[in-house]
């Protein structure tokens, strides 16, 4: 950092010194022809040139180095923070938006940080040059430099004008991208309904909009860019004309003219860049604010100050008078005074129509959300008092929408414990009924899956997710609709697997297929956030008309 500043400082002085030395060389060596002057000044130029060359490389390397490091650190900080933010935050944010914080916003900041040392060097250049030319000839200096502030002003205006246009153009381009992507993805629809011409016509409109914006951007550029070149030319004109007459009057040397010309040119870029700096700074500040917004969001669910370890146990779960709503403004709470005891080793099925709150029950237990009222205990301890990490390790969950990582099958199964041996991984897979198909994959357990890897069917993904949960060997297992996307002809396979897994383990099963429900020891029927009936599958079939209704609806879907 210190060397960067030093290098920048030396470089700036060397840069400003060079024209001065050239002027001296021309004046004393050529015009006045003093002995040895030409040789000495020439050697001087070479030496200063070498110093400047050395420093320019260093300052560049160090300036960018610092800026990239800041960007990298910020990205990691953001990542770590997002990882720990509660479910409710992620429910409300769009991945795309967060991604643009991580990519574009960070880049804005990085671009601005790079500008800081450059700007210091530029300001120093401007000051030094102004002093030097004023010492040489004040009147000419004022004349030559007079147009230059406009350069700064115009560069600032240009930057302000072009930015929104460029953003609009980007937006239109993103429109092209969306439209192409959906057309290609939906090509079967386009072909099936003969909609080729409709899509082509749409693209024509989109392309016309891009054209329009791009031509407009060109017009803005055409309005400013040539002007930015023209303004310094006015300074040069002043030097040549007025300065020339000063030479004729004997008040100035030709070498001074040369020096002035070089200095006017030298100021062009510093002034242009500092002109752009203002709007670039504004954008960077806006970007920083957006990132700050994320960083100041406190994780809502954290360890208590004196959090305890989960005592040993077999997974006794008690929901005591639990109330919960996803937002305070919601008219109706999702769960109202729900009490439910699940004994160690028991398997309970939660059944109910869509929106009855069964998934919410599953998500409160690992403390993904905090209850509004009442309490939940696992093996006698309130989950809010337990160390979060221990709680979540003790509770395994298979989500409805199975998310797998872009990694090997083995790594996905061993997610809870990357150190797990191949035997443990295979055992978990076998329990989940996944071993057979995994063995048939091109690279077996080493097959890469996910976006850029092998694509699995919904049922296969669910079975891997189940294996992942099993490998963690949780006290309590939650299966949230874990068989929903399994092909009906394959469902019995996974059902057998479930039976083995559930043996002797506290399990909460959310399901609507009767065959899966039948696996549970007890069925709890939920409706509108309350328990309305409890009993075995057979009992409820006999006693509860609502239960029969709910099942019939699900049945209708499966037929």
């Amino acid at each position: 950092m210190f060397f960067g500043v030093l290098a920048g400082f030396v470089w700036t002085i060397a840069k400003v010194a060079l024209p001065l030395m050239a002027r001296q060389g021309i004046h004393r060596g050529i015009e006045l022809d003093e002995p040895n002057a030409l040789r000495n000044w020439t050697i001087g130029i070479v030496v200063v040139a070498l110093i400047s060359g050395l420093c320019t490389g260093m300052r560049r390397y160090l300036a960018f180095g610092v800026a990239y490091r800041v960007e990298t650190d910020l990205r990691l900080k953001m990542f770590a923070h997002l990882q720990r933010l509660h479910f409710a935050f992620h429910d409300q944010s769009q991945t795309g938006q967060l991604m643009s914080r991580a990519a574009t916003d960070l880049q804005q900041i990085q671009g601005f940080i790079v500008m800081i040392p450059i700007t210091f060097s530029n300001l120093l250049t401007i000051v030094l040059v102004a002093i030097v030319v004023m010492v040489i000839n004040l009147k000419l200096a004022l004349l030559a430099l007079a147009p230059l502030p406009f350069l700064n002003y115009m560069a600032n205006r240009f930057s302000k004008r072009i930015h929104p246009v460029a953003m609009e153009l980007q937006q239109e381009l993103a429109g092209v991208s969306t439209s192409v992507e959906e057309t290609v993805t939906g090509i079967r629809v386009v072909k099936g309904f003969g909609a080729e011409r409709v899509q082509s016509a749409r693209m024509k409109e989109t392309a016309a909009r891009v054209f329009d914006r791009a031509v407009y951007a060109g017009r803005v550029r055409a309005g400013f860019m040539p002007l930015l070149d023209f303004i310094p030319a006015l300074g040069i004109l002043a030097v040549v004309w007025y300065g020339g007459h000063e030479v004729l009057n004997g008040r100035l040397s030709v070498a001074d003219i040369a020096g002035f010309l070089l200095y006017v040119n030298m100021l062009v870029f510093p002034l242009r860049l500092t002109g752009q700096l203002v709007s670039q700074g504004q954008r960077a500040v806006a970007a920083a604010q957006r990132i700050e917004e994320i960083l100041v969001t406190e994780p809502a669910i954290v360890n208590k100050a004196n959090a305890v370890s989960l005592p040993p146990g077999n997974g006794d779960v008690v929901f005591d008078n639990v109330s919960f709503g996803y937002s305070r403004e919601a008219e109706r709470a999702v769960l109202e005074n729900l009490s439910l005891t699940i004994h160690a080793g028991e398997a309970v099925a939660l059944v109910g129509p869509t929106g009855c709150g069964k998934t919410t029950v599953a998500r409160l237990l690992p403390r993904f959300y905090e209850v509004d009222g009442g309490s939940i205990t696992v093996d006698g301890v309130d989950i809010r008092d337990v160390k979060l990490n221990e709680l979540r390790t003790a509770i395994g969950i298979v989500f409805e929408d199975t998310f797998l990582f872009g990694d090997t099958v083995a790594a996905n199964i061993a997610f809870a414990d990357p150190e797990a041996t191949q035997e443990r991984i295979e055992a978990a897979a076998a329990l989940a009924g996944a071993h057979e198909f995994i063995s048939e994959l091109p690279n077996g357990y080493s097959t890469e899956i996910g976006e850029r890897g092998f694509s699995l069917s919904g049922g296969q993904r669910q079975r891997i997710a189940l294996a992942r949960a099993i490998l963690a060997d949780p006290r309590v297992l939650i299966l949230d609709d874990a068989t929903s996307s399994v092909d009906p002809t394959k469902e019995h396979e996974i059902r057998d697997a479930l039976k083995t897994v559930m043996k002797g383990r506290t399990t909460i099963v959310i399901a609507h297929r009767p065959a899966t429900i039948a696996l549970a020891d007890r069925v709890v029927l939920l409706d509108e956030g309350r328990i309305i009936a409890e009993g075995t599958h057979v009992e409820l079939l006999r006693t509860s008309s609502r239960y029969r209704e709910v099942l019939a609806q699900a049945e209708g879907a499966a037929a």
């Binding site: 130029i45 070479v46 057309t183 072909k191 060109g218 040549v240 030479v247 010309l261 009906p488 019995h492």
Partner: protein, 594 residues
Amino acid sequence: MWSSHGVDEEDRLKKGETGNLLRRALRMLRPYRGQVVLCVTVLLLWTLATVAGPFAIRYGVDQGLANHNGAALNRAAVGFAISAVAVLILSRAQILLVNRIGESFLRDMRERVFDHLMHMSLGFYDSQQTGKLVARMTSDIDSLQELVQQGLIAFVTSGLLLIVTITALMFISPVLALLCLASLPLVLIASVQFQRSSNRAYLVVRERIGQTLSTFQESLSGVRVIQAFGREAANETRFAHHNQEQLDAYAYAVKISALYFPVVELAGNFALAIVVGIGGSFVHSNAITLGTIIAFVLYLQNLFDPVQQLSQLFNMLQSAGAALNKLFGVLDTQSPVQERQAAVDLPDHGNLEAVDLTFGYSEAGPKVLSHVNLVVKPGERLALVGPTGAGKSTLAKLLSRMYDPLDGSVRYGGVDLRDASFASMRERFTVVPQEGYLFQGTILDNVRLARPSATDDEVAAAMARIGVLEHFIGMEDGLHTEVRERGSRFSAGERQLVSLARAALADSEILVLDEATSSLDPGTEVEVEVALTKLMEGKTVIVIAHRLSTAERADMVAVVDAGGIVEMGTHADLVRRTGAYAALFGSWSGQAAS
């Protein structure tokens, strides 16, 4: 700052290709011939005007200052002013022209490539990766766009400036010019080297950025799983690793530029030393004038800056060239299914027949279907059943000419589909794919896809006819509800309903349906069933059945297995026959019972 483009080795243009590419690009510019000629003229004038400035100054120094001639000095000042104004006007015109021509070219390119993609048959899409096709229309055209918006003018003017400046220097004083240019070869070598290494470095940077961002995105999408398993810290370590790798890649790229830039700066300053030192001794020996020294000092700035600019722009130009090459590649790809020169319209009604139909994805490869014969009479419903991969979908695709057969033919009312006009094919056939896919826009827009000329009322009427109007009219914005906003708001069943509504609006003679395999949400499942039944009324239907109920309701069932039809008849017949269908029926009904 500098170009952040990287060009893969495999994308690099071969020697002959560049010329070819330019010729084709110029051919596409033919409609804008007048503008192009004007643009080239403006460019040349601009270059002359730019170089004229220092000439005027030299004149002023030599004729005005050296000879103590005030009038000559004034002339020089006027000359300089004129050249500056000319540059102002000409560069304005030049930016406008280059931009307009370039953007017109890009607009045409977008339309042509997209139109071409739309004309490609399904066979083409089955053999291509979606991502690559999208990249043609997005990142490839975008890199051309960037060139047009930012690079092209700089590239052309830098090149011209370099040439004209060297010419001017040689004209004023060949000896001093050669001395100044002595370091140019060194700068050129350094530039080529820089261009190569920075290209490589930026390929790595690009890859690492991709890696970091995809890890970031994955961790956001999977954040619930990560928290559920308490893997936050471990995942952070993994990300930190990628993040650091990205930083390292950047640091390396910066290092390369930090080594290159001093070379250019040094060469410029050495040239300055040469002009002053050696040029000065030439002035003493009266070989050159003081004005020449001043002009040289000014010209030097036009000498090395363009080299630096060019070396940076070169990468941009290369990746644009590679992109253009790929785009022309798409335009050169012929669709496997083509409309004949003298195509005829299909008759309004008739039997749909397959005659000795044989198909494989390649001439030499294994046959997916061989010697299939079948007849579907107007108004008849044929269900295709059979195990996965047996050829049901392929048969359906051949019957609707998504593919052309290798041998045999498909005929409608006696006309071979290969002789039919595309327009009449579109009118007679509607293919409803397995999954309801929605495009951006409202429900109305999505249904209207099947018949763009339909009014809102016609769309609503079609929806009412199959009983789905009710479902959507109740939504907040009714049929004007945006389908894509706020994520995937529409359930699979609802998407299916929209898809069926499209088919209802198309109202064509023949419906080819691919039934969804997975079960839908309980609520809409029933609605889909009802809509399907109404939709099929009075139509000739070919349905790929995955459900027993669908097969049961068909007039005819064809069991497809091992590339042929192994059984065909009514449901009742086939069940009695105790063949393949009876076995399938057995497993189906057993499953429903469990």
